[in-house]
């Protein structure tokens, strides 16, 4: 295990654990949820011990995820306030995606895209939790129109959230040297200087 002592600490152990608890819950929820969403995905219920088990487990995993998501939200919300630099970053996001980050404004610990992701995820989680309660027939019974409304919202928002998580995962794969921040907490100084220069200055005093 070679670690440069000058690497910058991006996440502490409990932040990382929190992230992965939410992440694993999300994967289980996405797999079981897709199974109910489209017949093509129904075989995924086998991963959970069959259709009935998938139906039983899905909402409990949802409650579990919602709880740990709230903890994660409280940990990170102060770092995700939108600034003018973030708005400018978002306006130039296309340049970034084309692989040209020369004109991108300096970013703090999170860039505008990450902050957008944070707030969109939060909104999705609120909608999914509330609509999930409406369709959790084993525990709650609500008027049928509310259950129908809940089912549409739950399906549509879940699809949006799965798409956003794909983008989230891809962004981590695309930006080399990022994933280690969530495995063992550190990033190189060069990485920080390249992608989050304001945070780099704050951490190193340079």
């Amino acid at each position: 295990m070679i670690r440069d002592p000058k690497d910058l600490k991006r996440y502490d152990a409990s932040e990382r654990a929190n992230h992965w608890v939410v992440g694993i819950s999300f994967i289980l929820l996405a797999l079981s949820g897709l199974a109910f969403f489209h017949p093509a995905f129904f075989p995924l219920t086998q991963l959970f011990g069959g259709g009935t088990w998938a139906r039983i487990l899905h909402p409990y995993i949802g409650v579990f995820m919602a709880f740990f998501f709230v903890l994660m939200f409280l940990r990170f919300k102060h770092l995700n306030k939108m600034t003018d630099a973030d708005r400018e970053w978002l306006g130039r996001a296309k340049e970034m995606m084309d692989g040209n980050d020369h004109n991108m404004p300096e970013q703090g610990k999170y860039n505008g895209g990450q902050k957008m992701m944070f707030w969109c995820m939060t909104l999705c989680m609120v909608l999914l939790t509330v609509s999930g309660i409406f369709i959790w027939r084993a525990q709650f019974s609500v008027p049928v129109d509310l259950a129908r409304f809940g089912a549409v919202i739950h399906a549509a928002v879940a699809a949006i959230m799965i798409a956003m998580i794909m983008v989230h995962v891809y962004a981590a794969i695309w930006t080399k040297g990022t994933i280690r921040a969530m495995w063992y907490g550190t990033v190189t100084r060069a990485w920080a200087k390249q992608h989050h220069r304001a945070w780099y200055r704050q951490m190193t005093g340079k």
């Binding site: 995606m97 692989g99 369709i135 799965i162 798409a163």
Partner: protein, 295 residues
């Protein structure tokens, strides 16, 4: 029970066609509300034939007993006292599954083969494939399916699919002492209803008519109503039932669009990587850091 494997028209959560080689005649049960005396023989016959016994409940001071459909009471008589043109009328409707041609339950069901529509029109629940999610309850425009508290499976009237499969009339029709429940081909039932309606009209029920709502493609349980213009008089029979637009949206456009969108995002990411390459730290910055360290 999949007794008629070749006569399946639709199967829940299945995107390929069901075996369709054999064609069977479309059947229907006709409930002539004007001939019903509210004896509940149909309720008894249903429990008897299907070997289900509901909990003994309490008297609520009305004739309805049990008060609602349950996982063990697949049909109940609903009694309503109304005043029409200054006359008291006692309307008694045998409630239960309507066996829609366009079944909302089947559309909503996520479990392959848990809900089957036979070519003869019967919509049947196959509890061994049911996962207990209750989506059928959301899908139904008539509020019919019930989820058991004991086993979490959905239950409802089978239209005695097992009896019909061997050319027997449903148990309720067999037991009805007044002929208020008729059973036969849908065509014959419509003819029979037409005669009843003519008779009712002659007796002063000008708005008498057949309840076979087009919004769900017609049903395989039909009613002869003395007030066909006001079905809601009959303990809230829906005036113009159809699959809720929310269910149609959820199980219609959302499914393929969202699936395509997710595939698009996954493939888009892959090709972005392939075409634009990774977002690496520039050599320039790495050198700057190395220079700092050397100092």
């Amino acid at each position: 029970m999949a007794l008629q494997s070749l006569d399946i028209k639709q199967r829940s959560a299945t995107t390929t066609p069901s075996p369709q080689a054999r064609q069977t005649i479309e059947i229907a049960k006709l409930i002539d509300v004007s001939a019903c005396i509210g004896c509940k023989a149909c309720q008894v016959a249903c429990m008897e034939w299907n070997d289900v016994r509901d909990e003994v409940g309490n008297c609520h001071g009305v004739y309805d007993n049990p008060m609602d459909l349950t996982e063990k009471s697949w049909t109940v008589m609903r009694f309503s006292e109304i005043e029409e043109q200054g006359k008291l009328e006692w309307l008694i409707r045998k409630d239960g599954c309507m066996h829609c041609a366009d079944p909302g339950c089947l559309k909503a069901c996520p479990a392959p083969g848990a809900i089957i529509q036979y070519a003869n029109g019967i919509v049947d629940f196959h509890q061994e494939n049911c996962i207990g999610c209750g989506y059928c309850v959301s899908g139904c425009p008539f509020n019919v399916p019930r989820i058991s508290k004991t086993d979490s499976k959905a239950y409802k009237c089978t239209l005695c699919s097992d009896r019909v499969a061997v050319n027997q009339a449903p148990a309720c029709a067999k037991a009805c002492p007044t002929g208020a429940i008729q059973f036969g081909s849908k065509e014959d039932m419509k003819d029979y209803a037409a005669k009843r309606i003519t008779d009712l009209k002659e007796r002063g029920y000008e708005k008498a008519g057949l309840y076979d709502p087009a919004g769900v493609g017609g049903t395989h349980v039909m009613y002869v109503l003395h007030h066909a213009d006001k079905p809601d008089l009959y303990s809230g029979l829906p005036v113009n039932p159809s699959i809720s637009p929310l269910v149609a949206l959820w199980k219609g456009a959302t499914k393929p669009l969202a699936t395509l969108a997710l595939a698009g995002v996954a493939l888009g990411s892959l090709f972005h990587y392939v075409m634009k390459g990774p977002n690496e730290v520039s050599k320039e910055i790495e050198k700057e850091i190395e220079k700092e360290d050397a100092q």
